[in-house]
């Protein structure tokens, strides 16, 4: 029986990939719409600003310190419940954003003649690790609440940073001119630091 296992393993892996491709073939139009979405929101750039500190606020200790100090236990439980919902929502949004970056990347990269296999593999691995970690975090927050999860979030965000660096390197190869634009905008965004 053990001699069949490699074939069964390969077959199952193949079925999984085939299933993904077949499923995706039916949602190609939706994926494209997602790529074009920024056109509709081009004027609303400033809307991102109020949400910028959301993650910091959700996972920060200040609110919890205040609630745990001056309020009864019922309010504390209510706070925990609401903060859990918020934290999960924030994590899902982070995941969605990084996924959009990846989708945008693959849409452009497969037509690039300068595509680097090593960078692609690194990027894909970083992305999948990020997804695993992000999903684990959602589960962790759901089980234990956001206050206890603060330390783990830091790790997730380091993954996001690695992904960003890999993406920047890749974009520099795909389109150096546009990458310079991105880089310049980043320098403008250093006010917070």
């Amino acid at each position: 029986m053990s001699q069949v296992l490699p074939y069964v393993g390969l077959g199952l892996l193949f079925l999984l990939v085939l299933g993904l491709w077949v499923r995706q073939s039916f949602v190609t139009r939706a994926g494209r719409a997602e790529l074009l979405m920024p056109r509709q929101h081009r004027s609303g750039v400033g809307r991102a600003a109020p949400h910028r500190d959301l993650g910091e606020r959700i996972f920060g200790p200040e609110d919890w310190d205040f609630v745990s100090r001056d309020t009864p236990s019922e309010i504390q439980r209510m706070f925990q419940r609401e903060r859990t919902v918020l934290a999960i929502s924030w994590l899902r949004r982070t995941r969605k954003r990084v996924s959009q970056v990846m989708r945008a990347h693959v849409a452009v990269a497969h037509q690039s003649k300068d595509l680097q296999l090593a960078t692609e593999i690194r990027l894909a691995l970083s992305y999948f690790l990020f997804l695993i970690l992000c999903n684990s975090l959602i589960g962790w927050v759901w089980l234990h609440g956001p206050v206890r999860t603060r330390r783990i979030v830091g790790q997730t965000l380091q993954w996001a940073a690695q992904l960003r660096r890999a993406f920047e390197q890749l974009m520099a190869r795909v389109d150096p001119a546009s990458c310079r634009v991105v880089g310049t905008n980043f320098k403008h965004g250093t006010v917070r630091n």
Partner: protein, 257 residues
């Protein structure tokens, strides 16, 4: 008896469907568009009819003809896979580059395996049994198809309905072949008559998929022109810029935590 009748029904339906698909391609004048695939179908049909003719007219030589033609379809199947690679990745130079590396990797692995077998055994043979040889041929095909399907899924490469049908149908059939031959090599499974029907049924299913998707010629979607890519890319980089700016904030948060 019932199994034999069922096998014959499958056989006749299969041949009729193959002939029908070929006739559609000739009538619609797109036989040449997927030459390797239609050559494969023609070969399979020819081999089946040749075996039938031999069995009917000269039963004594049927066994010889059967074994000589056993691996023809599996070998010609490689041409179908190469055609899938060529047509699907025509407009994706980046993905084609990865595919070339992958193909070379598989080729190197196969050569290495053959050489290791040759060095380790005194009397080397490609496989102990004919079923094992076919299983090995089909497994390499499955690996190659895995590569192309993974690229299609990961890079979301858009393909025509025809190519989707060819790829999906052939992938399904090769998968069924590998599973059937792998389990068929086990003593418990090989003797079960139902197990021998897996391959013909899978091939018939593939034929129905091809019949549906190759009803008429549909060209592959034109790749976006450079200006469109650049335009989308600019929008894309704006979006990326916003997301990455936000990621910077998250990173600052990560540093504090």
């Amino acid at each position: 008896m019932a199994a034999s009748v069922f096998t014959q029904i499958l056989w006749w339906i299969g041949n009729a469907t193959e002939a029908f698909i070929l006739a559609r391609a000739v009538k619609g004048k797109f036989y040449g568009k997927y030459l390797a695939f239609y050559f494969y179908l023609s070969t399979v049909l020819f081999v089946e009819l040749l075996r039938f003719a031999t069995y009917t007219l000269q039963p004594s030589s049927h066994r010889v003809v059967y074994w000589y033609t056993e691996y023809v379809a599996a070998t010609v199947g490689y041409a179908v896979i190469l055609e899938i690679y060529r047509q699907v990745l025509k407009s994706s130079p980046g993905a084609a580059r990865i595919a070339r590396t992958f193909l070379l990797g598989v080729l190197a692995a196969v050569i290495l395996k053959v050489m290791m077998n040759a060095l380790s055994g005194p009397a080397w043979s490609p496989a102990a049994t004919s079923a094992e040889l076919e299983r090995n041929l089909r497994t390499v095909q499955l690996l190659l198809l895995f590569g192309v399907v993974a690229l299609l899924a990961y890079y979301r490469i858009s393909t025509s309905r025809n190519l989707k049908g060819i790829t999906f149908g052939y992938s399904f059939y090769v998968f069924a072949c590998v599973m059937s031959l792998a389990f068929g090599s086990l003593p418990d499974y090989a003797l079960r008559p139902g197990w021998r029907l897996v391959q013909p049924i899978a091939f018939l299913a593939a034929l129905f998929i091809w019949g549906g998707t190759l009803w008429s010629y549909q060209p592959s979607p034109e790749p976006e022109t450079t200006s469109e890519i650049e335009r989308d890319y600019k929008i894309l980089s704006e979006q990326t810029n916003r997301i990455l700016s936000r990621a910077r904030s998250y990173l600052k948060l990560g540093g504090e935590l």
